[in-house]
């Protein structure tokens, strides 16, 4: 049985210092076992300016078992799967302690964004790029932040403009982008194949 009174307290705690941390945790429905977390991309990293959403599922034995945390926003990072958003972070696995909270867990995820561990990768492709061609890694990470982690409509407009410039008709570009969830590459792929 999840300790809901503790989860309640954690949520209140989060709201209290949202100004300082920028970390937000909100329930997904009326059930407190599914939550949505939001972290700002750390300043001075390719993730700066982005807002990243995470899906949080609390196991029955929470807080004695770690919460299941996964990015829903696409991130280009050696320790985060570019496909599924799965995170490789020790405190979300065997180093979890019941004394940690959702807020501290998300702070650790944020710290992971600033300090990647390419030697213990979740996504081998990203880690390889990080090692072999750091500049390209930074560019890709920044590009993904621009493309997926910015909720402003400007991001979408830019993508539309880019694709239209490639010669695709605007209405189709818009509908395709929408269909693939704003992923520019996927949209391009789809546009080319249709």
């Amino acid at each position: 049985m999840i300790d809901f009174s503790r989860v309640q307290k954690e949520l209140q705690e989060c709201i209290k210092d949202i100004e300082a941390s920028g970390i937000k945790v909100t329930p997904k429905g009326d059930n407190l076992s599914r939550l949505v977390g939001t972290i700002p991309g750390p300043i001075g990293t390719p993730y700066e300016g982005g807002t990243f959403q995470l899906d949080i599922t609390l196991p029955d034995a929470y807080p004695f078992q770690p919460p299941k945390v996964q990015f829903t926003t696409k991130v280009w990072h050696p320790n985060i799967s570019s496909q599924s958003g799965a995170i490789c972070l020790d405190i979300l696995k065997d180093q979890w302690s019941p004394a940690l909270t959702l807020k501290t867990a998300l702070l650790s995820v944020q710290a992971l964004l600033s300090a990647p561990e390419p030697n213990d990768p979740q996504d081998a492709v990203v880690a390889q790029q990080y090692h072999r061609d750091y500049q390209t890694f930074v560019n890709t990470a920044r590009y993904w932040t621009e493309a997926f982690a910015k909720t402003s409509s400007l991001g979408v407009e830019e993508k539309v403009k880019k694709l239209v410039e490639m010669g695709f008709p605007e209405p189709i570009v818009r509908s395709t982008l929408e269909a693939v969830g704003g992923d520019e590459n996927l949209a391009l792929e789809k546009l080319c194949s249709s």
Partner: protein, 575 residues
């Protein structure tokens, strides 16, 4: 033997007195004082005592509390020597830190005497001090949260090392607190936890293994020094301690593993295959001729002549195969076909010897009853009273037959190409093989003669003839024992001992047969190292039966015990 006995007892009691001291920390002293068996049975009931004994010693040396000693020992896989050497080399702080033990001697004892209200950082509630528990590391949380934490960890199978709930605190929780708190909510889970800790002594310990008997007898066996040995559990099962399969020396564990696999795969079919098939000259698979002419084609596509086994073309008439004549000599093909055939024959040769002796071994086991009958008839009818030579001869027969039996798979691998192709030159191999086979042959002859004399109907003979048989059986027993020992020596020194590339270790030869693990009855003051494992009750039992062997004490009911020391009577008779 009697002298050795009383000295054993003397050692035992002196050990008891100095239990809390360190004087008997030197295993060398104890080793020299007696040749006690180096293997012991640990029963379900004695496991606790056994574990407590080791714990006590570590607690004494390092002046620790029990749960700290247990955490340390679990961390070091119950290797007390290793633990103490790390302590000696790197000191207490390193040792403790490594195993997650807070380096505190004084702190933590005032756990209940803290403030009356505690804030639990886990459930974020305030609880009264009596509802909270402080661990040795200084972290305090409410009992409810501790209990939840323990339950989750026990269910995750991490009973052996439950960490404190505080983030980055490496400390191991006090197992008595774990047990007490969990018991309040889930008594059965607390049982499970206690059992996990107890069984850690067996499962995390390379010198202790569960007896592989099925259904399980509940016992574990502990060896003192050499893990390459063969033991007999008190349930009667004899096994190789190293690989837990049947006792198989002079075969090494890996040889035995290969052999049993090979036998499983091949033995049933080998006979049929050799009678009904020929190996394909290309892929060497056995091919069955299912009618038709002498042209056979294998599934690999190769056609060959059934008569000579040579590769051929596919065109044929009833009387001839195109492009093929059995008279023509083709060295290459012949060699390949020969090799496949040779490999199979080689295996069959060793297997049939192995199987033959295995069958004899089983048949001779039945001899027990008939011989027992003959002995009792003779004891009644004859003036000769002592027929122990018969039983001793019989044990010698069993034991040496066993050695001979396993020497065939050994030879199969030792002189084959599978394991040691690059270990020796062909000449070297041939030389060694001859040497070994000579010994094997001698042993075989002596065993067969022993078997023949034991089967004689001596209960119907007159005394003179019985005395004659007696002399021969005794003679042969000694010779056979010698030959077995020599064979082991040859294997250990000249054959396996000279290997460069791999290591194969076999259990040592014991003239008395596989050692029966001694039994610890139950005593909290168990000695763990050294060799004094006996309790006075064990001895008195041995005394009662009037038997000079401690091993025999438990098997009085069994007239024929494979492990009865034969040399007692063997040597009585002039050797």
């Amino acid at each position: 033997m009697d002298g050795g006995f009383s000295s054993d007892e003397g050692c035992y009691s002196s050990d008891c007195e100095s239990l809390d001291g360190l004087e008997n920390d030197e295993p060398g002293l104890n080793w020299s004082s007696s040749k006690g068996p180096s293997t012991r049975v640990i029963r379900k009931e004695s496991l606790l005592a056994e574990q407590k004994g080791v714990l006590q010693r570590v607690m004494d040396v390092l002046s620790l509390r029990e749960h700290h000693a247990r955490a340390l020992l679990i961390h070091y896989r119950w290797d007390r020597e290793k633990l103490l050497s790390v302590f000696g080399e790197k000191g207490k702080p390193y040792l403790f830190n490594d195993a997650g033990i807070p380096d505190v001697d004084e702190q933590g004892k005032d756990s209940s005497a803290t403030s009356s209200i505690e804030m639990c950082d886990i459930c974020m509630e305030e609880v009264s001090g009596s509802e909270a528990t402080r661990m040795d590391c200084g972290h305090c949380f409410c009992n409810n949260c501790w209990t939840e934490h323990f339950i989750v960890k026990i269910n995750e199978g991490q009973s052996r090392r439950i960490r404190c709930m505080a983030h980055k605190c490496n400390a191991t929780c006090d197992d008595s607190i774990v047990s007490t708190l969990v018991r309040r909510r889930h008594p059965d889970l607390a049982e499970k936890f206690d059992r996990f800790l107890l069984e850690s002594y067996i499962e995390d310990n390379k010198m202790v293994k569960w007896c592989p008997s099925a259904p399980h007898c509940g016992n574990a066996i502990c060896v003192d020094e050499d893990e390459f040995c063969e033991v007999e559990c008190s349930c009667g099962l004899q096994f190789c301690f190293s690989c837990l399969s049947e006792a198989h020396s002079p075969c090494s564990c890996s040889m035995w593993d290969l052999w049993t696999k090979k036998c499983r795969d091949e033995s049933e079919t080998v006979n049929w295959i050799t009678v009904h098939t020929k190996p394909c000259p290309k892929c060497h698979k056995p091919v069955e001729k299912n009618g038709g002419c002498n042209l056979v084609s294998c599934i690999c596509g190769q056609a060959f002549c059934w008569l000579c086994g040579g590769a051929t073309g596919r065109d044929h008439t009833w009387s001839s195969i195109a492009g093929h004549s059995c008279g023509r000599y083709k060295e290459d093909q012949e060699k390949k076909a020969e090799r496949a055939k040779r490999d199979l024959y080689r295996y069959m040769h060793y297997h049939s010897r192995y199987k033959g002796h295995l069958d004899s071994f089983k048949l001779e086991n039945k001899l027990r009853e008939t011989i027992q009958e003959k002995v009792s008839i003779s004891e009644n009818n004859s003036t000769l009273r002592d027929f122990s030579w018969v039983t001793n001869g019989l044990y010698r027969l069993f034991r040496s037959r066993r050695v001979l039996l396993y020497s065939y798979p050994f030879a199969f691998y030792m002189f084959g190409e599978e394991l040691f192709k690059d270990e020796m030159t062909d000449e070297d191999r041939e030389l060694k093989q001859h040497l070994f086979e000579d010994q094997q042959q001698q042993l075989e002859q002596s065993i067969e003669r022993l078997s023949k004399f034991l089967e004689e109907p001596f209960d119907q003979y007159d005394e003179k003839k019985v005395m004659d048989i007696r002399m021969r059986v005794i003679d042969l027993s000694v010779t056979t024992d010698d030959l077995c020992r020599k064979m082991y020596q040859c294997i250990e020194n000249d054959l396996l001992g000279s290997l460069q590339l791999g290591t194969h270790i076999i259990a040592p030869y014991l003239s008395k047969g596989i050692e029966r693990a001694s039994e610890l009855v139950t005593c909290l003051s168990t000695q763990v190292d050294g060799s004094e494992k006996f309790l006075s009750s064990d001895f008195s039992k041995a005394d009662d039966s009037g038997c000079s062997s401690r091993k025999r004490a438990r098997k009085e009911s069994h007239l024929f015990d494979l492990n009865m020391p034969a040399e007692v009577t063997d040597r009585k008779c002039g050797f």
